[in-house]
């Protein structure tokens, strides 16, 4: 096999390696665990101009979609968000009540490295975190060596979930 014949195969292999999905907890199960089964009816928050601008400020880029789905019940809202760490999106779930994060979970991890953010020791730092008036977390999150971009993506999603929760609760920071 020479280069000309093996390169397309190598490129395909590289692409499929990037596309590997590690489903830690299916998003549907996360929502069910938080609110019980059957799932309550989903609601959406529209990312209107003002909301989208604030979301872009939090994410550091424009939001990829114009509306965000969430579920609510028992005084809680549940959000399933996606954000790119380095190259692939990380899917994370957040349960929020009273403007504070009750639970943060990594649901699907697709990056080739940085998967340590899934561990409870890291995620525990988000419990009870709330949003400051300048849309930052009220605490600093300890990073993980080798997972800096994933940690940052997780923090952005946590801030976005808290911000969107404040929108639906009518408590815009």
């Amino acid at each position: 096999m020479n280069l000309r014949s093996c390169v397309p195969a190598l490129l395909l292999l590289a692409q499929s390696a990037y596309a590997l999905e590690d489903v830690i907890l299916p998003p549907q199960r996360f929502v069910e665990e938080a609110l019980g089964s059957p799932l309550p009816k989903a609601q959406v928050v529209w990312l209107t101009k003002d909301v989208a601008e604030k979301a872009a400020q939090i994410l550091g880029h424009a939001p990829s979609q114009l509306r965000q789905r969430y579920w609510s019940g028992n005084g809680k809202t549940v959000w399933v968000l996606e954000e790119i760490g380095k190259e692939e999106p990380i899917t994370a779930g957040f349960v929020i009540a009273g403007g504070r994060i009750l639970q943060a979970r990594v649901l699907v991890y697709r990056e080739s490295r940085g998967g340590e953010i899934r561990y409870p020791a890291f995620l525990k730092q988000y419990e009870n975190a709330s949003l400051t008036p300048d849309a930052r977390l009220d605490r600093s999150i300890d990073g993980i060596a080798g997972a800096t971009l994933s940690v940052r993506a997780m923090e952005r999603m946590a801030r976005l979930a808290l911000y969107l929760d404040s929108i639906v609760q009518g408590n815009t920071p």
Partner: protein, 254 residues
């Protein structure tokens, strides 16, 4: 003339000639190595190369989808790696398409595992996955009374907004069917389906020698061995000149 003198003359003769040739490779190795050390800074992986002869050299050729889904004002195609809706690539859509329908409020694009909602201007409203759809996989997508209908193994469901879904028993939707693409669409698709290479890969292959094919790394191995030999011979010549008391100018062989 002594044996040693002849040896010195031989080494100096070949040290200079081989050195000139090796220098060309060393410049290549050093410059590509420098670039590869700062891949992220130079964003080499983001620079895409589509030079035809280089693609041919790598054995890459474009595979253009011949069929797609057409609506009144739009089209969608996929090659199983990427999906295009109305001249825009959809992020994270690597599954084969199931269909595309156009309702009054926008487009609904289905793959087996996801349903993408776009407004009439083609902006993504939302991507629905397992937690947001009544059942998966989606087998067909259609329209009935301007509502989207998805067919799954668990039944058929319709929705007006993609948020709430109703089971429907005896629908007669107009299903989305793959059709041959018109020439003007095919022309526009070249920009998406012409293969490319990242500059990083090309530089990496230049650095390792793989760009020359499977024997390329051996060429670079040879360059490495020659470089070691040149270093040793250069050191030897220099040390001899020091011993003779003139480190600046190596003495000529008698």
């Amino acid at each position: 003339m002594s044996h040693l003198t002849r040896l010195i003359r031989f080494v100096r003769h070949w040290h200079a000639r081989v050195g000139v040739l090796a220098a060309l490779f060393l410049i290549l190795l050093a410059s590509t190595g420098l670039l590869l050390n700062h891949t992220e800074y130079f964003r080499l992986d983001e620079v895409r190369i589509r030079t035809p002869w280089l693609l041919r050299w790598y054995g890459l050729s474009s595979v253009m989808p011949q069929q797609g889904y057409l609506t009144r004002r739009g089209y969608a195609v996929s090659d199983g790696q990427r999906c295009i809706l109305n001249d825009v690539e959809i992020r994270r859509c690597a599954d084969p398409l199931v269909g595309l329908v156009e309702a009054e409020n926008g487009f609904y694009l289905a793959t087996a595992e996801s349903l993408y909602l776009f407004d009439s201007e083609g902006r993504l409203l939302e991507r629905l996955g397992a937690q947001s759809l009544p059942a998966l996989p989606i087998q067909r997508i259609g329209l009935v009374d301007d509502q989207v209908v998805i067919a799954t193994a668990q039944g058929m469901f319709k929705s007006v907004d993609g948020i709430t879904w109703q089971v429907i028993a005896s629908p007669s939707p107009s299903w989305s069917i793959a059709r041959p693409l018109p020439p003007d669409v095919t022309d526009r698709l070249h920009q998406f389906f012409t293969p490319d290479l990242s500059l990083e890969r090309i530089i990496l292959d230049l650095h390792s020698g793989r760009i020359l094919g499977r024997h390329g790394p051996f060429v670079m191995d040879l360059v490495a061995v020659v470089s070691i030999a040149l270093s040793v011979s250069g050191l030897w010549i220099y040390l001899r000149s020091i011993r003779k008391g003139n480190p600046e100018k190596p003495s000529r062989a008698p």
